[in-house]
Amino acid sequence: MRPFDYYRSNDPADAVEAASEKGALFIAGGTNLLDLMKLDLMTPNRLIDINRIGLDEITPSDDGGLFIGTLVTNSDCAADMRIRQDYEVLSRAILAGASGQLRNKATTGGNLCQRTRCYYFYDPDMPCNKRKPGSGCSAVGGANRIHAILGASDECIATYPGDMAVAMAALDAQVVIEGQGGDIRTVPVRDFHRLPGDQPDKDNILRPGELITHVTLPPPARGRHIYRKVRDRASYAFALVSIAAVVEMDAGKIASASLAFGGLAHKPWHDPEIDDLLIGEAPSDALFDKAADILLADANGQGGNDFKIPLARRTLKAVLREATGERS
């Protein structure tokens, strides 16, 4: 690990100011950042410890939703009774990820910023445009079983690995961000992560020194909340395909539907056309196939991950059957 200065901040504005220096990074839970620093894959010259700046509570918002402070741990978020009762898909997604130890450390803001698990990103001896822009992508034509089938570019086929953000995308949560001089901006989770394009080193829209302060959940969405994660082990593994679904039925028809997908792209994938197709329709296999057709219209396998295309279709159909079926 490269040497760095350590600064503990006690206040969000102070933390943002301290992070304005080039090469400074925030540290919260640190479970991904320190992992990467040990391998010299991230080399900040200054760490701003934000663990004691507050922002560690879940509070009601004026419109009936919730503010989740950026330092609320994954464990606390998943166990919060309001989240368990009203935003079950979010609790389920968080509990499907990592281990008990990691969830106790990992934070809401940090989880949004976690980096890909592409094998080549983690291997300093191999070219990787995300780690070293312009060096090439080893995953194209290499081992790419876990890689993207949607929205990838010639420069990068990495996936965003998380679960929490997939549920937040289905719920249409917002990320509240504080910048220099107290500037606040709000960005939908659906737009927070970006596609790789020709800048795969940029995972998301955060500018240097900007601090995520909260994630805002809208008022509770009624209906059935499902998070289904398909992976190589039953626990403690990243998603090959995951789906967050919030679907409400009324008189045999789909009254509302909001779906988001993990493991398929450089960001949690949300396609409003899928939701629009489903709303107002009676559930049927043909309808679910049409939804999968929309999802996978531009899907592109890279060899090792070709299986994700039929797997995504089957998983989507299974989730929709469960979401629209009789409650057991």
Binding site: M1, P3, F4, D5, Y6, R8, I27, G29, G30, T31, L34, D35, K38, L47, D49, N51, S75, A78, A79, M81, R84, Q85, E88, S91, R92, L95, A96, A98, S99, G100, Q101, L102, N104, K105, A234, S235, Y236
Partner: protein, 169 residues
């Protein structure tokens, strides 16, 4: 160098170390507490599990200087020869190990995990998120999935945890 004060197993310990020092390295190399083990050093195996302010974490994935004033419990703080904690005694009784390298992490993790169950935290395999947390085989396996045992002593580890939990409830 950074000065840090930790409360470890009820005792105040002062540390002056490079900012890069992980909590695990501080415990093992600076403070002589070698019960916590270094397996993967990347948060994947759980051998380094300790409790910070009552919660289990991977001590390899956090910096000692981030924990100034925090309450740390290591396996040395749970019990000692002749005065084992119920979980430690149950691991011995059920032969919950072979080589023993993962054992202190397993025991620290299980100690905190039983508190999480008492606090009624749900898990990925809980049928209902709002019902009572139960200590079934499936629940124990899921909740302990952050602790690997390369000798695969899992059945005996689960038996030990179940017995210790039943004895305390």
């Amino acid at each position: 160098m950074k000065d840090t004060t930790l409360r470890i197993n009820g005792e105040e310990r002062k540390l002056s170390a490079d900012t890069r020092t992980t909590l695990l390295d501080a415990l093992r190399n600076h403070l002589g507490l070698t019960g916590s083990k270094k397996g993967c050093d990347h948060g994947q195996c759980g051998a380094c599990t300790v409790m910070v302010n009552g919660r289990r974490i991977n001590s390899c994935l956090t910096l000692a200087c981030m924990h100034d004033g925090d309450e740390i419990t290591t396996v040395e703080g749970l019990g000692e020869p002749g005065d084992l904690s119920p979980l430690q005694a149950a691991f011995v009784k059920h032969d919950g190990f072979q080589c023993g390298y993962c054992t202190s992490g397993q025991i620290c993790s299980a100690t905190a995990m039983l508190e999480e169950i008492k606090d009624n935290w749900p898990s990925n395999v809980s049928g209902s998120l709002t019902g009572e947390a139960k200590l079934t085989l499936k629940e124990i396996s899921e909740r302990m999935s952050g602790n690997l045992c390369r000798c695969a002593a899992y059945p005996n580890i689960v038996d030990a945890i179940r017995e210790a939990a039943e004895a305390s409830s």
